[in-house]
């Protein structure tokens, strides 16, 4: 069953179809919202509102695949939040997810690296941050990212390039979790 069929069924009251869609897209959408906003609570609000928009008939299959629609909705909701609050930076209240590292030194290095990455990504301008997060963390193709942010491919490549250059400068010569300078 395609996403489009599932959406049709879900919008007619088929809860199983809706649950299937929700479980397929919940995690990537939440990660995207979280890395855009830096807040678990805000990311949950955004993902919730995104699915509410879906069941209220916001999706039109002729305008592109469902994945692009959902990511675009999350992106627009996050952008609206930043517009409403008058700031573009994330809240900076990131949560540390426990690392798999075993030794205390390795864990400390991993934690420091993670904090540096969080701060560096959070400091990116929104247009660069959203492109970088979709590309580097969610592995979305550039063509899909272009559709999500409603820009042409050249603009997306340019934003991604600037974001990566800025991160390289900010992070300097980052240290890998294994302790090797890279």
């Amino acid at each position: 069953m395609t996403d489009e069929n599932l959406v049709q069924a879900a919008c007619k009251g088929n809860e199983a179809a809706f649950r299937c869609l929700y479980e397929s897209y919940r995690d990537p959408l939440f990660r995207f919202a979280y890395r855009l906003t830096g807040s678990v609570e805000l990311a949950e609000d955004i993902v919730h509102d995104c699915f509410v928009s879906l069941i209220r008939g916001g999706f039109a299959a002729e305008r592109g695949p469902l994945r692009g629609y959902l990511f675009a909705t999350v992106r627009n909701l996050a952008r609206k939040h930043f517009r409403d609050t008058g700031r573009e930076e994330t809240t900076g209240s990131f949560e540390m997810t426990p690392a798999d590292e075993t030794g205390p030194l390795t864990a400390l290095i991993a934690r420091e690296t993670t904090l540096s990455v969080q701060a560096a990504v959070a400091a990116l301008p929104f247009l660069q941050r959203e492109v970088l997060v979709m590309f580097a963390y969610e592995q979305l193709p550039l063509s899909v990212i272009a559709a999500v942010v409603d820009a042409d491919l050249a603009a997306v490549k340019s934003r991604l390039h600037r974001a990566r250059e800025r991160l390289k400068r900010t992070l300097g010569a980052p240290v890998s979790p294994g302790g090797t300078s890279i």
Partner: protein, 115 residues
Amino acid sequence: MSDDMERDDALQETLRTWRAPAVSNALDERVMASYRRTFPGRGPRRWKFWAPAVLATSAIALLLLSTARPSRSLELDSTLDGANSSTSYVTRVNASGFVAVPDGKIVVTKVGEPQ
């Protein structure tokens, strides 16, 4: 600038050290609650499947109960009438035709005794 070239470098490895937290159960419940509010009265499919069976079972149970009730009340009546029943005590107050006694005197009599 291919996707593979962009992803396969040291920066990508460093970026991946930042992991997002897992989605909470609260979000799942909230989203499903919103869905059910939008489509009220349309429960899960398995409930729809079982609904006729539950209704039929309930109807049969009600039918059995309604046929069982008269015999039960007959049993009760027989205990009321049977004076030789030593273990069953039934208290019954017949208030039909009750008239308040003007002087407040209260007389308690057993059933069948002359007043």
